[in-house]
């Protein structure tokens, strides 16, 4: 085990995969400037700065992916993906099926999002649900350094377009990362804490808020199980359902907007497939239907915090 930050875990994953596979390359607005280590090791053909134009970057990634390369494209912040939706959704996500399977698109689109930097809603917008909704894409949003490393490596090796979101507040979070080859398979959730009374499902930084809440709940004698989704698509239905079948209670927590978010999907899944096990209403704690504010205290208030999570879960258990 080595302790490293999430940012370092990402760098390590990129370097290892570029070393392993000469068809992996990376580009973005400032990639070569900011990833000087990669540039030095792999050279300017494989580590590129680009013009400022997200659409063509994503399109270039898709075209390259279909013809022999495995591009990683860094689009910086999630809202900037709005310029690249056609290339990601209409091309990378659909042209495999439309062509009857003639092409595949092994590419990774990276972007940051989430509260913590005070830069407002045009840099901070949790859009992961859009890509879960669209066909042909996979979506990853890890919560800790080891998963950042292992899931990014898996994403680069996957033959489908993978959206890889970094919750910006986690960038400097330290975590223990196993030494040696670490590939965390896409589509597998992790149970971060076991408990029999209520299930807290989350992803990205709010996993930590859930763990914090679980600690507070334990003080009240309530045992919460915390499920970290890690991959939002494909969703690990089995892990979610198994937990809810055990606890009978579910709170889904995320920072993204409530309406048609990942939490909606999980609540719907559970209310179909674990209905008979449910002992209480399914709750969602999410960001509001509002652009993220820049002002620090408001930005914090935007994100579901441990206190609210604990309160909601305790309410469910006590039958409030």
């Amino acid at each position: 085990m080595t302790s490293m930050t999430v940012n370092d875990a990402i760098s390590a994953a990129l370097a290892e995969e570029m070393r392993r596979d000469p068809t992996v390359l990376m580009f973005g607005e400032g990639t070569a400037t900011k990833r000087r280590d990669l540039l030095d090791e792999f050279g300017p053909a494989r580590v590129r700065n680009t013009p400022l134009a997200e659409g063509i970057l994503a399109g270039t990634a898709a075209g390259a992916a279909a013809t022999g390369l495995r591009p990683v494209v860094d689009l910086l912040f999630a809202p900037f993906l709005c310029y690249a939706m056609d290339e990601i959704v209409n091309s990378a996500g659909k042209l495999r099926a439309i062509s009857g399977g003639q092409f595949s698109f092994p590419m990774v689109v990276m972007a940051m999002t989430g509260a913590g930097w005070g830069v407002g809603a045009q840099h901070n917008h949790n859009l992961e649900a859009w890509f879960v909704h669209a066909p042909g894409l996979k979506v990853v949003m890890p919560s800790n350094a080891a998963d950042f490393k292992g899931l990014l490596k898996a994403a680069i090796r996957d033959d489908n377009p993978v959206l890889f979101f970094t919750d910006i507040a986690l960038g400097y979070a330290e975590g223990e990362v196993p030494d040696g080859e670490l590939v965390v398979p896409l589509g597998k959730a992790a149970v971060r804490r076991e408990g029999a009374d209520v299930t807290l499902v989350s992803y990205a930084k709010t996993v930590n808020h859930c763990l914090d809440a679980a600690g507070r709940l334990a003080e009240q004698g309530i045992e919460a199980e915390v499920v970290d989704l890690r991959t939002l698509k494909p969703l690990d239905e089995d892990t979610i359902l198994a937990s809810v079948r055990k606890t009978g209670r579910l709170v889904v927590v995320h920072e993204a907007s409530r309406l048609c978010g990942v939490g909606a999907e999980i609540a719907a899944l559970v209310s179909e497939k674990a209905f008979r096990s449910l002992r209480a209403p399914v709750l969602r704690l999410t960001g509001p239907d509002a652009p993220a504010p820049a002002s620090y205290p408001l930005e914090q208030a935007f994100v579901p915090q441990a206190g609210a999570i604990a309160e909601a879960a305790a309410g469910l258990v006590r039958g409030a």
């Binding site: 013009p51 898709a62 075209g63 013809t67 495999r96 062509s99 003639q102 033959d159 489908n160």
Partner: protein, 317 residues
């Protein structure tokens, strides 16, 4: 190959494209195919450019792709099967008429999103530039696509990254139901290319031999310099945007002017004038084309629909 032979071959290929499109219009009229964007009137651009490519070169095209595919040697039987949603189509019936790709021919990543081809072409060019070989990428797009910002983005990236992409703008004066003159003050698209550092030329898109010559120069330049090049072919969409289309919004005088410049008529007249084409040969070609299309219709009609499992079969790799 002799010029005679090439000129006649080009004519026959253009006749095949025309016959294919007319067959499709007819099938549509009889309720047996979905609507389509025909390339009637633009056959010279397709045949002139594609005949200048080598076997390793790749092509990206768009919603108006039949000419490019057939010029590249696509099997009309599999094309008709595709357009009618059948399992033997190039895309197993999953594309329909608007995004036919045939990887085996190097016709790849066809998108009906106008501008999609421009966004993907740079990536294919990047693969060509990084994975070796002397193949180049040809990207066909319309004058309408050139209004999308991806045009600028694609050319700029290809220029600054030295990508071997031949951009071919088929400027057919129309952007669906809007005449080009309503959409831009620019006379053509070459000045924009030049402003971004991309070499560019314009050619009479209805003269198949002129297109071929200009394309040969362009292809040679891209292959040698490994840099992008833009060729603008001035042509005209002789039928409507999407079948059926009564063209009531088209200026009859303009249409008549361009009908007189029908690329098939022009090439036939040139060959006849130069004594390179006999009436018998024309008859032979007409017969051959008709038989090819009859066979294609029979093939497509006999082909089964894909099974329902095909809906989800190829979504993920």
């Amino acid at each position: 190959m002799s010029n005679h032979h090439r000129g006649v071959e080009a004519l026959e290929r253009m006749m095949l494209i025309r016959a294919y499109e007319e067959t499709l219009v007819d099938l549509h009229g009889r309720g047996r195919a979905a609507g389509t964007c025909t390339s009637v009137g633009q056959e010279a651009a397709a045949v002139g450019v594609v005949s200048a490519l080598g076997p390793d070169d790749q092509i990206l095209t768009n919603h108006r792709s039949a000419g490019h595919l057939l010029a590249r040697g696509a099997d009309p039987r599999r094309m008709l099967a595709e357009v009618t949603g059948k399992a033997d189509g190039y895309c197993k019936g999953m594309s329909g008429s608007l995004h036919i790709a045939a990887k085996e021919l190097g016709v790849i990543l066809t998108s009906t999103i106008v501008g999609g081809e421009l966004a993907l072409a740079t990536g294919v060019g990047l693969s060509r530039s990084m994975l070796g070989g002397d193949g180049i990428v040809t990207c066909f797009f319309g004058d309408g696509a050139a209004c999308e910002g991806r045009f600028q983005e694609s050319l700029n990236l290809a220029a600054v990254w030295n990508l071997p992409v031949l951009y071919v703008c088929e400027n057919n004066q129309w952007q669906a139901f809007v005449h080009r003159k309503e959409t831009t003050l620019a006379d053509g698209v070459t000045a924009q290319a030049a402003a971004l550092g991309v070499a560019a030329a314009t050619v009479d898109g209805n003269d198949v031999e002129a297109v071929h010559a200009a394309a040969a120069t362009a292809v040679e330049t891209v292959r040698r310099t490994r840099r992008p090049y833009l060729l603008e072919a001035r042509t005209y969409r002789l039928r409507g945007h999407f079948e059926p289309d009564d063209q009531s919004y088209v200026d009859p005088a303009e249409l008549a002017h361009w009908r007189d410049r029908d690329p098939i008529l022009l090439q036939r007249a040139r060959l006849e004038r130069d004594g390179l084409l006999s009436a018998d040969e024309v008859l032979r070609m007409e017969g051959a084309v008709r038989r090819t299309m009859d066979e294609a219709v029979a093939f497509a009609e006999a082909s089964p629909y894909p099974g329902f499992d095909q809906i989800t079969a190829a979504v993920y790799a």
